[in-house]
């Protein structure tokens, strides 16, 4: 199976990994969580969302959990996704990479103020 492009990790895929870091979510839940964590800047459409989910599933970075585990009746019909150990590790590496980048930016005085 050829790999979809996850290297470099696209922003949408990274945001999905982050959204699943706290809890298991279905598609709409992921979309809302991503919108929330980006301050409404990133609103994932169905195409981008499920295309990214498929890539992440193929790479075993997230996994689909058994619908029987889900609690209420409405969630029963939906697929729920969970972050895998590999996904958590990848998200951490990506975050570290961005932190490195941030350090450089800070050293070069690109950033103003003390909010970082």
């Amino acid at each position: 199976m050829p790999k979809r492009k996850l290297d470099p990790l696209p922003p949408a895929a990274f945001q999905i990994l982050l959204s699943l870091a706290g809890e298991d979510l279905h598609g709409y839940g992921i979309m809302r969580q991503v919108a929330h964590q980006t301050g409404g800047r990133m609103r994932l459409g169905p195409g981008t969302l499920y295309s990214s989910i498929q890539s992440l599933l193929e790479e075993k970075l997230i996994e689909e959990i058994n619908p029987n585990d889900a609690k209420d009746a409405e969630q029963d019909r939906r697929r729920v996704y969970r972050l895998s150990a590999a996904g958590r590790k990848l998200a951490r590496n990506e975050a570290e990479r961005l932190a490195d980048l941030l350090r450089v930016a800070r050293a070069k005085n690109i950033l103003r103020g003390d909010y970082v």
Partner: protein, 509 residues
């Protein structure tokens, strides 16, 4: 209504996506439609959806195409044509019909063209050959010329020319064919590899003499650089001559080649000199004495009498010494040249510059550096180069594994090198200063200790390490494997290594 419009838009996605996520996508639309009310939010929703469709649909088609193409390519044998289905919809019968007609027309056209063009195509190689003959003049005889000379005079020349042709072509299959036909006993295996071809760029012949039909003596020069090599080959006088002996060595710059004829007195002098050196310098006096006894016994038996070629005589004595010592580092080397007067010990500035350039050319012997799936760092290192020349390269490579969860050192083609480089590479695997091993010089009664140096912001010290070995793994690469094994710092995987732990170099007159 809106839902129907969106459902219709979804039908533009490829079938595989619709099947897997069509329902989910529609559900997401419903959720957002319910959640985002009011004119502004609805307009924004449609804007989001249309932008999303514009990006996702082409991407899904591209992916479907790459996947189908990739799977076909993976299962296909090289050079056999095949059809790749790029769409995952069912193929329409009309398409099959049109395809068949086009294929038949193309094949027919090709058949007509090939029958018309045979004569013209047949002429092409001889034109090319003539041109290469014209462009080569002077004492340098190029390979194209030797090819154009027709049938070589002696069996030795025939095999030598066949080697050059196969080697210079750079084609691994041509090299394999050569080895299979002329070198079944793998006497030249080191000199018939694509890697050696890449390092040298091929060879041109400076001179060759074939004093006997089964013997050839030659001087060649690498095409990528100024290095010259001197060697000889002996072949078996079978209908298809096969290589019986082959040797070739690099000539240092400025060296003057001398003609040496071996006779009984000269052979005796070499054996005596070797024994004296062994007794004085070899790390184990006991083994030195055993080797000396073996050499003397062979001489008394008359085993050495027939050999008049210096290179082959040196090889014969090397085999006799290794049979007793099992020490892959113990060699008697034949050097039919004199280095210029006052030549200092160690490389000259030019040799150093040449070495640095060569290292730059082949990435300090790193054949491959990449991060494998599951975040495993992999490096294939084919020598341990001079630490002063290659330190920054090693630093770059190891830095690229900063986030790796494990590291694999592939030393299957590593023939060793600088022990200080071994220490530097090992240093990445330890937090603290660690004693690796010692080198003991018996003549000076001196011991050099090798310790790792802690490396700043190194993340590999506590990561699992694996070393891949083979029967080619030799010398410094064995030391690296052995150090890590003894310190329980790495898992060794592969064949038993070649066996060369003693380092010993002594020039005889």
């Amino acid at each position: 209504m809106s839902e129907k419009v969106y459902a219709w838009l979804l039908s533009f996605f490829p079938a595989h996506f619709r099947e897997a996520y069509g329902k989910e996508a529609l559900q997401l639309f419903r959720d957002r439609w319910r959640g985002e009310r009011g004119l502004f939010l609805r307009l924004r929703l449609w804007g989001d959806l249309l932008a999303d469709l514009a990006i996702s649909i082409p991407r899904e088609y591209c992916f479907a195409r790459a996947r189908l193409g990739g799977e076909c390519a993976g299962s296909q044998f090289a050079a056999i044509p095949g059809f790749h289905v790029l769409r995952d919809d069912r193929i329409h019968p009309t398409s099959l019909l049109v395809g068949s007609v086009l294929a038949a027309a193309a094949l027919g056209g090709l058949a007509v063209l090939s029958s018309v063009g045979t004569g013209r195509l047949g002429e092409a190689p001889s034109v090319a050959l003539k041109r290469s003959v014209d462009s080569s003049h002077g004492p340098v005889r190029t390979v194209a010329l030797s090819q154009g000379r027709g049938v070589p005079d002696t069996p030795a020349e025939k095999v030598f020319n066949a080697w050059l042709l196969a080697f210079n072509s750079g084609s691994p299959s041509a090299m394999q064919s050569f080895s299979k036909l002329y070198d079944p006993r793998e006497k030249m295996s080191r000199f018939v590899t694509p890697r050696f071809r890449t390092e040298t760029g091929g060879f041109e012949v400076l001179s060759e003499t074939s004093p006997e039909p089964t013997f050839i003596h030659f001087c060649i020069k690498e095409m990528k650089g100024p290095t010259r090599g001197l060697g000889s080959m002996r072949v078996n006088p079978t209908p298809i001559p096969t290589v019986a002996m082959f040797n070739m060595d690099e000539i240092p710059r400025g060296a003057v080649i001398t003609e040496i004829k071996l006779n009984a007195a000269e052979r005796h002098r070499i054996i005596e000199g070797s024994i004296a050196n062994l007794n004085e310098y070899y790390v184990s006096p006991k083994v030195a004495q055993q080797i000396a006894n073996a050499l003397t016994a062979h001489e008394k038996n008359g085993d050495d009498n027939a050999e008049t070629d210096g290179g082959f005589f040196a090889e014969m004595l090397t085999a006799q010494m290794q049979a007793v010592s099992h020490d892959g580092h113990l060699h008697l080397v034949y050097k039919p040249y004199k280095t210029p007067e006052g030549a200092s010990v160690g490389p000259s500035p030019e040799e150093r510059a040449h070495y640095m350039e060569a290292m730059k050319r082949n990435s300090c012997s790193f054949e491959e550096v990449r991060v494998l799936p599951h975040n495993v760092g992999y490096l294939k290192l084919n020598a341990f180069p001079d630490v002063d020349v290659c330190r920054s390269k090693v630093e770059d490579v190891m830095k690229s594994f900063r986030h790796a969860d494990a590291i694999i050192f592939d030393l299957r083609d590593n023939r060793g090198g600088d022990p200080h480089m071994v220490t530097l590479m090992c240093s990445y695997l330890f937090h603290h200063r660690t004693h690796l091993n010692d080198i003991y010089d018996r003549h000076e009664n001196a011991t050099e200790e090798f310790w790792t140096t802690p490396i700043r912001s190194n993340t590999l010290a506590d990561k699992p390490a694996y070393v891949l070995t083979s029967s080619n793994t030799f010398s410094g690469a064995e030391e690296f494997s052995n150090d890590l094994k003894n310190l329980k710092r790495a898992t060794l995987i592969g064949e038993t290594t070649a066996g060369g732990a003693y380092i010993w170099c002594r020039n005889a007159a």
